[in-house]
């Protein structure tokens, strides 16, 4: 199909042909990691560990899908942990629990996700209408979320008893953990949104060059707010499932999830400058992050060292995804 002749190629194209196509590098890294971890500890490939791995990665995928759209747009959403904390505590209070006599079941899930979606919407409004950089608006929202969640839960763990929620997060269908289906479903939805909806394409356009997108008549603010709202929705679902997996609603249940989500996105090839990358990369990135954490555990690396390793990955990811020579200066 490609009818490109030599004469119409840009210098950027000639340069990019020398590099690996996108996704190849993350996939190679993933394969190398799997081999490495298996060599260190063959138990990595045992059924129990794989199932554990799938539970872990599924929640990360759900949370990271929301973050990916935001990063693609050239913004950042730092509110992840606050949103997850709220989702968790709402579930702990409204679903069947040890603490009170509430038993709203599915309605509790719905309320938690709606509240999270609303927070995402507020992030978007604060960023666009009040013109606060997304970094600051969402950082503030993270603390609002954690604060509210701590207040609502009195700082306590709220053990969840709801059988439906527990079977979602801990049950299996055949050999496959139920959480995997949630992860796959959310990934497919995100993929569809990115590839086949106007919203998905506009997010890329805004991330590519906001001023030009505006010139083409795209209502920037509307789509930015939509993206933050969608992120809130995804993170809310992730928060609900995460607390069900832990088995309790708690204000600190989102701990380390923000960093993992950003690492998954960037490690999967989504540039922090926006415009390039996508949800497929994030899927691979999430697998990389999870295999590394799991591998470190299996290799006996002390858990205190693990954050340091994540820090190194995200830095390497940034080096590989952004062509820094094109940036006029580094902020």
């Amino acid at each position: 199909m490609a009818t490109i002749t030599k004469g119409i190629e840009s210098a950027a194209a000639r340069k990019s042909r020398l590099r690996l196509p996108p996704l190849v590098a993350p996939i190679l890294v993933l394969i190398a990691l799997v081999i490495l971890v298996t060599l260190i500890n063959p138990r990595f490939l045992s059924g129990a560990n794989i199932a554990n791995l799938m539970r872990q990665v599924s929640i990360l995928i759900i949370v990271a899908m929301g973050e990916t759209f935001i990063i693609l747009m050239g913004s950042i959403d730092l509110s992840v942990e606050g949103v997850m904390a709220l989702a968790s505590v709402i579930i702990g209070l409204l679903a069947k629990n040890y603490f009170n006599s509430n038993d709203f079941g599915l309605l509790a899930v719905l309320i938690a996700v709606v509240v999270c979606t609303l927070i995402g919407f507020l992030n978007g409004v604060a960023h666009t209408k009040m013109r606060i950089p997304s970094f600051m608006a969402t950082l503030g929202m993270m603390y609002v979320g954690v604060g509210l969640a701590t207040w609502l839960s009195n700082g306590m763990n709220l053990p969840i008893l709801d059988p439906m929620l527990l079977s979602w997060a801990r049950g299996n269908t055949g050999p496959i953990p139920n959480l995997t289906f949630f992860g796959i479903a959310i990934f497919l939805i995100a993929f569809f949104i990115q590839r086949y909806t106007r919203f998905g394409r506009y997010v890329l356009a805004i991330g590519g060059a906001e001023d030009r997108a505006k010139l083409a008549g795209i209502p920037i603010d509307k789509y930015k707010i939509l993206a933050f709202t969608l992120a809130g929705f995804f993170v809310g679902i992730g928060g609900v499932l995460n607390s069900a997996r832990i088995g309790a609603g708690a204000a600190n249940s989102g701990l380390n999830q923000l960093f993992a989500a950003i690492t998954a996105g960037v490690g999967g090839g989504t540039a922090l400058t926006g415009g390039t990358g996508g949800v497929v990369g994030t899927l691979i990135g999430a697998l990389i992050v999870t295999v590394i954490s799991n591998g470190m555990l299996l290799a006996g690396v002390p858990s205190y060292v693990q954050p340091a390793v994540h820090g190194v990955i995200i830095t390497i990811g940034v080096i590989l995804t952004i062509d820094r020579s094109k940036l006029p200066f580094i902020k």
Partner: protein, 342 residues
């Protein structure tokens, strides 16, 4: 029906301290290429921005096909069949050619919220055929060179023809600035063939180009529309006189008023090279007291780089002031040595 597809009547626009446009009028007939010339600051760009809705005029009116219109955004302009090909280009590099052609106007390809890529690309192919460009609409725009992207912008402008059922008015803002000679010829070729189904406003300060391609030309000076000429009845000398308000007597750059270059060379560049950015610059020099006239010579940017004022990583083989070698200059050293860059 009016005789004109586009008519600008007594449009004025002022910015704090500047009267950018002063009662400017202009008409464009169907299938006409209208030239717009003027020095920098003559008001050309302001008028174009008014035509695509980026600015609102203070007074005066704009008529499209005989009807007065208010253009408040690019979308409004496009709805009236007015499109602009920007000098600095408006393509999004990370989207495909097809997406760029229909960016902001995807409605026709969306069913129940789902984009039908096959339809969009087929339609894009049709638009590309109008400018004789045979590329896959699924190609990412960043892989294409400037001239090709410009053709795609032209195709995007021509897509208005199908969307609005009008023959479009296409504004080309200094389209030839960075084109090579062959590319320019190709562009002119396309413009001439598009003339059969569109009107074109061609903005340039290359008078030869204006004479080559346009049917009629408006001359702007200091925000006023000072004259209008049929292209066949004018020449470079007259256009230039109207444009700058004085005679062109074989002295385009007022050479006689220039300071005579002093004999000593203040900057000499030999074998300047930066991998991937510059090809080797064999040798050039600047003498003291020489004013750079008109357009900057093409090697000014490499020199800026070499002198450290733009990019201190430029590798110079030998860059030196005759009195003292100044190789490997960094910003700070460059400024200290009396260089400056504006």
């Amino acid at each position: 029906m009016s005789d004109f597809v586009l008519e600008v009547r007594n449009v004025s626009k002022s910015f704090p301290g500047v009267q950018a446009l002063d009662k400017v009028s202009l008409q464009v007939k169907p299938h006409e290429i209208v030239g717009l010339v003027g020095e920098n600051g003559a008001g050309k760009t302001t008028l174009l921005k008014i035509l695509i809705g980026a600015y609102q005029p203070d007074e005066g009116e704009i008529l499209v096909r005989g009807k007065p219109v208010h253009i408040r955004s690019v979308k409004d302009a496009e709805a009236h069949g007015l499109a602009m090909v920007f000098q600095e280009q408006s393509m999004l590099p990370n989207l495909t050619v097809g997406e760029n052609i229909f960016l902001g106007n995807e409605e026709a390809f969306i069913r129940f919220g789902v984009i039908n890529w096959k339809n969009m690309n087929a339609e894009a192919r049709k638009q590309l055929a109008k400018v004789d460009l045979e590329i896959d609409p699924g190609t990412y725009t960043f892989t294409l060179n400037f001239a090709t992207r410009q053709m795609i912008e032209l195709a995007r402008a021509m897509s208005l023809e199908d969307r609005t059922k009008y023959e479009p008015v296409i504004i080309l803002d200094e389209p030839t600035t960075v084109l090579e000679k062959a590319e320019k010829e190709l562009l002119f070729d396309r413009i001439r063939s598009l003339k059969e189904r569109a009107s074109i406003i061609f903005v340039s300060h290359h008078l030869e180009e204006i004479l080559e391609i346009t049917d009629r030309v408006y001359i702007f000076k200091d925000g006023k529309n000072v004259a209008e000429r049929k292209t066949s009845e004018t020449n470079v000398g007259e256009l230039h006189r109207l444009m700058v308000g004085r005679e062109l007597k074989g002295e385009y750059y007022r050479q006689s008023k220039q300071v005579k270059p002093a004999p000593e060379v203040v900057l000499r560049v030999e074998n300047l090279n930066k991998a991937g950015r510059l090809s080797v610059l064999p040798e050039c020099w600047v003498r003291a007291g020489r004013k750079s006239a008109g357009r900057l010579p093409g090697w000014i940017n490499p020199i800026r780089g070499a002198s450290g004022l733009m990019d201190n990583r430029c590798a110079t083989d030998r860059l030196r002031q005759p009195s003292a070698p100044a190789w490997a200059m960094y910003h700070r050293i460059a400024v200290w040595k009396g260089w400056c860059c504006t």
